[in-house]
């Protein structure tokens, strides 16, 4: 059997490797996404003081430290039995909305954008953010850079540091904001809404107006009919910071809606010997292998999943775009992996609207931003939506608040099985008997997992370039038959 290895693809808590096995006839037999790294937070956090967790678990990921910081703080609220005052909850969600808008921006423009704006078949050297700039002009690049710079500036202003905030505490946050800061946050927020609207218009003009792209989005090579997960508010609208976890089936019907604290009833994790990353699935449906469909417990937790799992968006502009997406793509749910990019932009718009709503909230500058715990700590579970999927923290402590047990299910992990399936399906659709493995083909396989933004890209988010891949085609003895690399030289 022949093997096509893609190694390394970049970060997934370290990095990832794809192996595609071909039959003697040259068809795809199977595909594996391996994650060759583990750091062991669930073990080495035991013995730590619980209140230190927001500042330890943010080091799980330097791209989305805000998500771990926030999930950890919510877990501590539960563990210490303390309810943060309204100002604290609003400040946390404001901070989180700014983070979401910033993160989604960098992913769309630097990582995913090149495939659409410049084109999946464009020369490699142009298929990067510099290619985008060339195509749409410096003015657009300026907007993107400003959005990112504003976002990081505000994250530091509110949360204390631009990377790895040190701010959320059990019962609230360590510092509030002043009226002067609020005005700056509001001003940048209004500009961010304009930026989000502009981004959707750009997507519309360049991608949706192009029938080739639309058919690529809707093609079978990029569709896996699985369950979808997301957090919803009391109106079943998408929420990033808080709510109930809702899971819908492949036909869009509600499978279950549960509070985060009951995750163990609904989610189980499988271990495969060939990867350090576990494979979560829906416990009540069961593990049936790397399969889609109503009888398989495989699910996704992505921007598109969140939209599929909700009934709509809580803000007006995002709701209008939500309706337009489902109208264009033929109704709910949408299983087209590449539509995740569109969903991400709708979430970007929602995040910016939410950002401004909270910035003008009369309570946001309140001086009551912390409630001190008075009860004995014991156990807590906390969830937020990370950009890359539902994030769950679960801690237990002794009566002094020293951790005795920690469980974490992080955003990308939810999608581990689905990413494996998407890669296999894309490879099957693109590699058949006698197919010459070209760079363009490689990129199209790559697009299948890039849609998940699986923390593989991290800073590919923000610089010229793209995921470096190397494909080696090996014969049955492991000998190299052909080797192909893709390389972006930006100099």
């Amino acid at each position: 059997m022949k093997r096509v290895s893609i190694d390394p693809i970049t970060r997934l808590e370290g990095h990832g490797k794809i192996d595609i096995f071909l039959t003697e006839e040259g068809d795809v037999a199977n595909a594996y996404l391996q994650v060759p790294e583990l750091r062991g937070f669930e073990q080495f956090c035991v013995g730590r003081q619980a209140e230190d967790m927001p500042n330890i678990t943010n080091r799980i990921c330097g791209v989305c430290p805000e998500a771990h910081h926030m999930a950890s703080a919510k877990t501590l609220d539960a563990l210490f039995h303390v309810d943060p005052p309204p100002t604290a909850k609003k400040l946390r969600e404001l901070f989180y909305s700014i983070f979401f808008a910033t993160d989604h921006t960098t992913h769309f423009y630097a990582l995913a954008g090149p495939d659409f704006v410049v084109g999946p078949e464009a020369p490699v050297a142009e298929r990067n953010i510099l290619g985008i700039i060339k195509k749409v002009g410096m003015e657009v690049a300026g907007k993107v850079l400003k959005m990112r710079a504003d976002g990081h500036y505000l994250i530091k202003m509110i949360g204390g540091r631009p990377v790895h905030p040190n701010w959320a505490v059990p019962g609230g946050v360590s510092r509030g904001i002043t009226e002067e800061q609020r005005q700056e946050i509001e001003k940048m927020g209004r500009e961010a809404i304009d930026f989000a609207k502009f981004s959707l218009q750009l997507f519309n003009d360049i991608v949706l107006e192009n029938s080739d792209y639309l058919s690529l989005i809707l093609s079978d090579a990029y569709a896996d009919r699985t369950y979808n997960m997301g957090t919803v508010d009391e109106n079943n609208h998408v929420n990033f910071y808080d709510g109930m976890i809702r899971i819908v089936g492949p036909e869009g019907e509600e499978h279950v809606k549960y509070p985060a604290s009951e995750y163990v009833e609904y989610i189980a994790e499988r271990v495969e010997p060939w990867s350090y990353l576990k494979f979560p699935y829906l416990k009540k449906i069961g593990w049936k292998g790397f399969e889609g469909g109503v009888d398989s417990g495989v699910y996704k937790a992505t921007p598109l999943s969140r939209l599929n799992a909700a009934d709509g968006m809580a803000t007006p502009l995002a709701q209008a775009e939500y309706e337009r997406m489902y109208e264009t793509l033929g109704g709910k749910p949408v299983h087209a992996t590449l539509a995740t990019h569109w969903a991400r932009l709708i979430e970007l718009l929602y995040a910016t609207e939410r950002w401004v709503d909270l910035a003008v909230d009369p309570e946001i500058t309140g001086s009551e931003f912390r409630t001190l715990p008075t009860e004995t700590p014991d156990e807590g579970i906390g969830c937020v939506e990370a950009p890359r999927g539902t994030l769950t923290h679960h801690y237990q402590t002794d009566e002094r608040g020293v951790l005795t047990h920690v469980n974490l299910i992080v955003g990308t992990t939810n999608n581990n099985a689905a990413i494996n399936m998407s890669i296999k399906r894309a490879a099957e659709g693109l590699i058949q008997k006698g197919t010459v493995v070209t760079e363009g083909l490689l990129n199209k396989v790559e697009m299948a997992f890039r849609a998940y933004d699986p923390c593989l890209g991290c800073a590919t988010h923000s610089l010229p370039g793209q995921m470096p891949l190397e494909v080696t085609i090996r014969g049955p003895e492991g000998e190299t038959l052909d080797r192909l690399t893709q390389y972006v030289n930006n100099s």
């Binding site: 970060r11 790294e37 073990q43 209140e51 204390g160 990377v163 989610i267 100099s491």
Partner: protein
């Protein structure tokens, strides 16, 4: 540097935050691209190990290496980058001192696997499957790198020329280091590139040499916004920690957690912290001081060696401490 130099960036056991910090120099990244060909940077440009392997030894001018050494693959990359680079910089606290991943040195591989793959409440693993370095499937054989028992710093793995601490280093410190490299103004080999003052030195909070009777946990008190956190009974590590951030955490009301590691002249971070804490206590009795610290700070290792366990005198707890298994799990 007259002609364009070659620059490499690599990451091992880390979180990606160092990369984000590099991007935080914003438009100056274009100046970096002006001065250097970036021959490796897995997140942004080419990452082909084969290309690096084929380069002549010492042909990369500077390699900024972040992350600790946790697996066999990371060790291989550390050795490779050392061999190919004239100047190797341990970049960020994980490479310098082990960082957060080195807290795993309080445990070992078996215990970590047992927790992660054997004991978590959401696990469904009745057959006790563990990741294997080699797995034979019906399709072919799949390989994973070896997960070591002990996390090492970069300097415990290969020779290191300079150290740039911080979790992550602030973009301003990164830019200072880049300028020093470009202008050829690097300090003596083996030095830390950065400040030799402490976080306390740049903290705007007021110190009044006040004595306290004991320590408080951060969740037990809302601190005064203007007074030294340590003098309010909070375990703030600013006194032992090298500056570089400008006291960012104390500014938002949170104690310094020591992410830049020990300041110049401080041999052991934890020992320095213990003496600092003893000095603010209103007691001269060593036994009483020890009792107050034990009562107020249940996790001294996590407080005093959160970012520096691998690089400290302790380095790790004794291996095969199976009693460190988590207590009752769900």
């Amino acid at each position: 540097m007259t002609e364009k130099g070659k620059l490499a960036l690599y990451w091992a056991a880390s979180c990606g935050g160092c990369e984000i910090a590099v991007l935080g120099i914003n438009e100056k990244i274009l100046d970096v691209a002006e001065a250097f060909d970036i021959v490796m940077w897995p997140v942004a440009v080419d990452a082909k190990v084969k290309d690096i392997e084929m380069m002549d030894d010492g042909s990369i001018d500077v390699c900024l290496f972040n992350g600790a050494i946790r697996t066999s693959e990371q060790e291989y990359m550390a050795r490779l980058m050392r061999q190919k680079s004239k100047v190797l910089v341990a970049f960020g606290s994980c490479a310098v001192d082990g960082g957060i991943p080195a807290l795993a040195n309080l445990s070992d591989r078996e215990a970590i696997f047992e927790t992660v793959y054997g004991h978590n409440p959401s696990l469904d693993n009745p057959e006790g499957t563990r990741p294997q370095t080699e797995t034979v499937t019906e399709d072919g054989t799949l390989h994973l790198p070896i997960f070591y028992n002990t996390v090492r710093t970069l300097a415990q793995t290969v020779d290191v020329d300079y150290f740039l601490p911080g979790c992550p280093p602030e973009p301003e410190r990164i830019w200072d280091a880049v300028l020093a490299i470009v202008k050829g103004e690097l300090p003596v080999v083996g030095s830390v590139i950065g400040a030799n003052t402490t976080v306390c030195d740049s903290c705007s909070r007021t110190r009044s040499e006040k004595k306290i009777s004991g320590f408080k946990r951060t969740w037990e008190v809302i601190p005064d916004p203007d007074i030294c956190l340590l003098e309010q009974g909070l375990v703030c590590c600013g006194i032992a920690t090298r500056d570089g951030c400008g006291a960012l955490c104390p500014t938002v009301g949170s104690p310094c957690i020591g992410c830049y590691g020990a300041n110049e002249g401080v041999d052991d971070f934890g020992a320095r912290m213990m003496s600092a804490l003893a000095s603010v206590l209103d007691s001269d009795d060593p036994e009483e001081i020890a009792r107050i610290i034990a009562e107020g700070i249940p996790d001294t290792v996590g407080n005093f060696y959160r970012f520096s366990l691998a690089g400290s005198e302790l380095r790790r707890s004794a291996l095969h401490v199976s009693e460190r298994q988590p207590a009752e799990t769900v």
